[in-house]
């Protein structure tokens, strides 16, 4: 079982999707229950990973599975090559953890074409898990594209008023990035073959060892980096996000925020940075600048939003800025902060989208001005919302603080000192936009008669929120649970990038490249 655990976990939702397809479309309750059970089982299947101590000992890939898939001699070979290490571990866990919550959030919210919705959700889960465990660049690309399609339909069919615009925008933005990445993948693959380097399909570990001349690295890094930057999203490529989030159904927003955005940051950590370390060094000042701009810009724009969901969407831009800044620090604290902040953002922002969903289901509006004084009618909701708000602000003792603090500390210790100082001012703005929103929605007297009869959270809604709140405090108080499994993998990654940089500098330019690029 353990030999096939990863595959089984990854494709179990797909199996579930097939089951869903055979359930009559009228039976909504059964469809939802089936999806819930499937995602819950997937979560249980993934649990052994979280408790496996092998990650605390070794930073390498575990639970490896390898099969040859397509082999056309020297021209093209790709393998089913998967595995998980301390870096992808928690993203896998986040995915399997957030999916049952996302399904539960649809209980009353989705009532048209439930069958399609559930089938797409399950397909999406397989895509996301597959992307995190792929160790073959081409396999990764397949899963990457596989995620895009269900999300496009989730927004386009079950979205709000402006859903078509949002869905198309989401698709085109992402597709442009993907195509650039595809070109880069193919280029780097044929470069490797031509240079006679020992390759194993598109296996990334072989790519890691490849010495690519700096001129080519720049272009390749730009292609990968651009694609991932759209997904993150980094300023100024972020404008698809507010639209996609606002229009997407709650479950879609939750998954988009919790997992899909992490594909971008994960892509940097796993692919763009270790593959092209020399180019990375050149681009770090620019990328760090964009990250810091994202933090400040996202916060300032979030502050003035009139729609709660848009506000949360823009706050994502700011939070992901911290992630990126931490990663680009290229040291243990920064990397750990960035990685943890990915999880944190999944938990906190996912929770915020659920919260927005709760009030949207009750009032069918998300305009801040429509609310006010909700704390009177919904005390439990007020408490939950408050906890998540402060987690998003990064209050010490909650998850948000640990991630932000370490990211800032890492940046400060690296050459990004001044970036860190500017980024730190983001903590002020976070308090401004979140508390101002909270005050306008929850405090004051009830002025809008439509809010007079609001009901407090139902048992189902409380059940949805409790696990998220648990992790808010768990990560805040004892993050070592997560760090101890992350540390070896991060250490290995950082060492490898460092040694690669040295190696690349010593490398003599290879003549093969001259055929492809105009390099002196």
């Amino acid at each position: 079982m353990a030999d096939y655990l990863l595959s089984f976990m990854t494709f179990f939702p797909l199996l579930g999707m097939l089951v869903v397809l055979f359930i009559p479309r009228e039976n909504g309750a059964l469809l939802k229950s089936t999806a819930l059970v499937v995602t819950l089982i997937t979560f249980v299947l993934s649990l052994p990973l979280a408790f496996d101590d092998v990650f605390t000992v070794s930073g390498g890939m575990h639970y490896r599975e390898f099969y040859e898939w397509i082999n056309i001699g020297n021209y093209f070979q790709m393998n089913y090559n998967i595995g998980v290490d301390g870096i992808s571990l928690w993203l896998v866990m986040l995915t399997t953890f957030i999916m049952p919550i996302a399904v539960l959030s649809t209980w009353n919210a989705v009532d048209k074409n439930i069958k399609g919705f559930m089938a797409l959700l399950l397909l999406l889960e397989t895509g996301m898990l597959g992307a995190f465990i792929s160790l073959d660049l081409f396999l990764f690309y397949i899963f990457w594209e596989l995620m895009l399609i269900p999300m496009y339909f989730l927004i386009g069919i079950w979205g709000g008023k402006n859903r078509i615009y949002a869905a198309v925008k989401f698709f085109i933005y992402t597709a442009v990035g993907s195509l650039l990445m595809l070109v880069a993948i193919i280029f780097v693959y044929y470069y490797a073959i031509q240079s006679g380097a020992p390759m194993n399909g598109f296996g990334i570990q072989e790519f890691y060892r490849l010495a690519i001349p700096s001129g080519a690295q720049y272009w390749l890094f730009l292609a990968f980096g651009f694609s991932f930057a759209i997904k993150v999203p980094m300023f100024p490529l972020h404008t698809w996000l507010p639209d996609a989030h606002t229009e997407a159904p709650t479950a879609g927003s939750v998954i988009l925020a919790a997992v899909l955005l992490k594909m971008g940051t994960y892509g940097y950590v796993r692919f763009a940075m270790p593959l092209f370390p020399e180019a990375l060094q050149t681009f770090i000042p620019m990328l760090a600048t964009l990250s810091v701009i994202g933090i400040i810009y996202g916060s300032l724009v979030a502050m003035m939003q009139e729609d709660v969901k848009k506000l949360v969407a823009y706050s994502s831009v700011a939070h992901l800025g911290f992630v990126m800044l931490g990663i680009f620090a290229m040291n243990m604290q920064g990397m750990a902060g960035g990685m943890l902040q990915m999880i944190n953002h999944g938990v906190s922002t996912g929770a915020l989208f659920l919260i927005v969903g709760f009030i949207y289901e009750r009032r069918h509006t998300r305009l801040i001005s429509e609310f006010g004084g909700l704390a009177h009618k919904m005390p439990i909701f007020a408490t939950v919302f408050l906890i998540i708000t402060f987690s998003s602000i990064g209050l010490p003792g909650t998850n948000g603080f640990v991630g932000e603090f370490l990211a800032l500390m890492g940046a400060f210790e690296s050459g990004l000192r001044w970036y860190a100082v500017v980024a730190t001012s983001g903590v002020i703005f976070a308090a401004v936009y979140m508390l101002w929103m909270y005050q306008r929605v929850m405090f004051g007297k009830i002025t809008n008669p439509a809010n007079e009869n609001l009901s407090d959270l139902s048992a189902r809604e409380i059940v949805i929120m409790l696990p998220l709140i648990l992790f808010v405090f768990w990560i805040g108080v004892y993050p070592n649970t997560f760090f101890e499994k992350m540390n070896p993998a991060m250490e290995q990654l950082l060492n490898q990038m460092e040694s690669r940089q040295v190696a690349v500098v010593e490398q003599v330019e290879q003549p093969v490249m001259a055929k492809y690029l105009d390099i002196k």
């Binding site: 502050m303 010490p396 070592n480």
Partner: protein, 654 residues
């Protein structure tokens, strides 16, 4: 020693959780109040045990590690606690005054809708404050540091249906966050600065031991301490970040007493005390601290002159007294600063709780008469001494104490500060002068407050004036205990020239002695000078008291004449020198404008303009190209003919 420091913050945390989760079901106010009060009282007992244990112990620094918090690369942070004379005094003040205020709240908050919520928050505050003072590293301190900010937010916004309360809560948190930005920057810089010397630590003991690795008086240590001081100005309401504290009076009065007088706002002073060696290493920062402290002391006192809301008078008084403490820290009188922090906790808590008792009585009267007058406006009071004797006497004793009348507590602490301001190697006569003037002003506005509230004719509406009762025992007992402490609290620090042993000075020796010795911070001067200065400050205090009594009791028409004669000045003072308006103009409104511009201007027009523009161009092009693929046979035939003509023409004529 005992290994139970963690229990001190633990009890209130448990109390907070119990009341927070179950309070709504418990409903019974007595049970809820008892849980909250007993939780903090249990901490008080443990604190006593540790405090007296420390008094009798040779070793003066104890550390206790509960668990590891985060371990990443060269960063190792523990859930660890530190007991030394400084934190010992702080936990005594927090749990002692805290217990009294919890007890008081049972009576004061009687009948409030969110009674359980109040006690849950109050316990949570005590937890945070105790984490702040007990943390053995800067990050655990920061948990408490932001935690008290959170509780302050929750408690100021307790009456959340009032817009002013919501605004004040948000303002308090955001302004505090500006300070926290400084704290974080200082912390990061310090970690990196010491780390580059080979010591990666955030532990206070290790920081103190290795501080010498940094260059004394160097830029780095100045930057670090200035950053931390920015944090202190936020938390402790100093210029330029003091504006949140007066607004914070929107919270229930026990909150003002506990958080916004006795404990949380002194966190900045405590923090400088905790890092005294770093501050001692930077004369520049010390000078900034002293100047900001002195300026705040006199500036806030001036605003206190013209306020009519009894709690606002006390709020500005708190800002002013905190300025004194910073003045003390800035001139190197660390012991005196903490000493004043302690006496201030007693008399100011007593004053706030006394004002709460007055408001409680006034409210009762108005309620009885079905009136909606402002129960906090001193212009509606007067002559309450007879109605509320216990409240009156405790309030009066505390007022005498704050005014600096000899033999009362603040006389000793304030005089110690003023002496150091004058005679310290880091002092200056100018700082002393400002301090003395502010002391006179303090005496004046506090006796103005007593005159308007308790003396003279009763100005309350006749329908209500006979229905103002003395408060119940849960309120008066804490008042009596605090008033007692306000009177005698100073005797732990009677200076040598008055024949005292200055116990507190020796007690703090292990904490502050090292820095003071190493960087030659001491107060020296002739005994004659010290006596003279003492005489001057006593004279100034009595002058302030005398003028206040003359103006507000003997010649009640005088204040009106004054305000008429200096109406412009009065209006400026009354409106708090328009600082809030200035900040709105300089910071708040521009930030909003920038936010709107970035959103509507940049995001929607520029970025999406490019994105949608690209889409439009593609759409336009394809619309053009579509004509070539119309599907009509004759169009293709026509195109073919044109093509043939062109090609043939090319060869024929080309």
């Amino acid at each position: 020693m005992y290994n139970n420091l963690w229990l001190i913050p633990f009890f209130p945390l448990v109390g907070s959780i119990i009341n927070g989760l179950l309070g709504k079901k418990i409903k019974n106010e007595k049970v809820i109040g008892s849980i909250g009060t007993l939780a903090i009282f249990a901490s008080f007992l443990v604190a006593c045990q540790n405090f007296f244990g420390l008094l009798g112990s040779e070793q003066k620094v104890f550390q206790e590690t509960v668990a590891s918090w985060m371990t990443i690369g060269n960063l190792q942070v523990d859930w660890g606690f530190l007991l030394d004379p400084l934190s010992a005094v702080m936990i005594m003040v927090v749990t002692g005054v805290g217990s009294l205020i919890h007890l008081y709240s049972i009576g004061y908050m009687h009948g409030e809708v969110g009674f359980y919520r109040f006690f849950s928050y109050l316990n949570l505050f005590c937890f945070s404050m105790l984490m702040l003072v007990l943390g053995n590293n800067a990050l655990v301190m920061f948990i408490g540091w932001e935690g008290v900010g959170l509780c302050s937010y929750l408690l100021i916004g307790y009456y959340f249906e009032k817009k002013s309360a919501g605004d004040a809560a948000k303002k308090a948190f955001v302004v505090n966050r500006i300070g926290d930005f400084g704290f974080l920057c200082g912390l990061l810089t310090l970690f990196w600065a010491l780390g580059s010397k080979g010591v990666w630590t955030l532990n206070f003991v290790e920081i103190s031991e290795n501080a010498h690795l940094l260059q004394s008086g160097g830029l780095l240590v100045t930057v670090v301490t200035l950053c931390f001081f920015l944090g202190a100005t936020g938390k402790s309401a100093q210029i330029p970040l003091y504006t949140w504290l007066p607004d914070a009076m929107e919270g229930p009065t026990p909150v003002s007493a506990l958080i916004h007088a006795a404990t949380m706002v002194t966190a900045g002073v405590y923090m400088i005390g905790r890092m005294n060696i770093l501050f001692a290493m930077s004369p520049t920062t010390m000078m900034v601290v002293a100047i900001v402290g002195a300026a705040t002391a006199i500036f806030a006192a001036s605003i206190g002159f013209a306020q009519n809301d009894i709690k606002r008078v006390l709020a500005y008084s708190t800002v002013s007294q905190l300025g004194y403490m910073f003045l003390a820290m800035g001139v190197g009188a660390f012991t005196a600063g903490i000493f004043h922090l302690m006496t201030h906790a007693f008399f100011k808590a007593c004053l706030f709780l006394g004002s709460g008792s007055v408001i409680h009585g006034m409210h009762h009267g108005y309620h009885h008469a079905h009136l909606h007058d402002d129960p906090q406006d001193m212009r509606n009071m007067g002559g309450l001494a007879k109605k509320m004797p216990i409240t009156y006497w405790t309030f009066l004793l505390s007022t005498i104490a704050i005014a600096g009348v000899p033999l009362f507590s603040a006389f000793f602490s304030k005089d110690e500060i003023l002496w150091w301001a004058f005679g310290s190697t880091r002092g200056h006569w100018g700082l002393w002068l400002v301090g003395v003037i502010a002391a006179g002003m303090t005496a004046f506005y506090m006796f103005r407050c007593v005159s308007m509230t308790f003396w003279g004719p009763q100005k309350t509406d006749p329908k209500a004036k006979d229905h103002i009762p003395e408060s119940p025992l849960t309120i008066t007992i804490p008042l009596i205990i605090l008033a007692f402490l306000a009177v005698v609290g100073g005797y732990v620090g009677v200076p040598a020239i008055l024949g005292g042993a200055n116990h507190i000075h020796h007690f703090f020796e292990p904490v502050f002695g090292h820095a003071q010795e190493l960087y030659r911070i001491e107060a020296h001067g002739a005994h004659a000078t010290e006596y003279a200065l003492m005489a001057i400050s006593v004279l100034v205090a009595f002058a302030g008291i005398g003028i206040a009594i003359y103006m507000y009791l003997k010649k009640p028409e005088l204040p009106g004449k004054f305000t008429a004669a200096f109406s412009g000045l009065h209006r400026a003072v009354f409106n708090k020198w328009y600082i809030d308006e200035l900040y709105d103009f300089l910071f708040v409104n521009p930030t909003k404008k920038i936010g709107t511009f970035l959103w509507r201007g940049f995001d929607v027009c520029v970025v999406d303009g490019v994105v949608n523009g690209t889409a439009w161009v593609v759409k336009g092009l394809s619309a053009g190209l579509r004509f070539t693929q119309s599907g009509f046979l004759h169009n293709y035939a026509a195109a073919m003919v044109v093509g043939v003509v062109v090609i043939v023409g090319y060869y024929v004529f080309g």
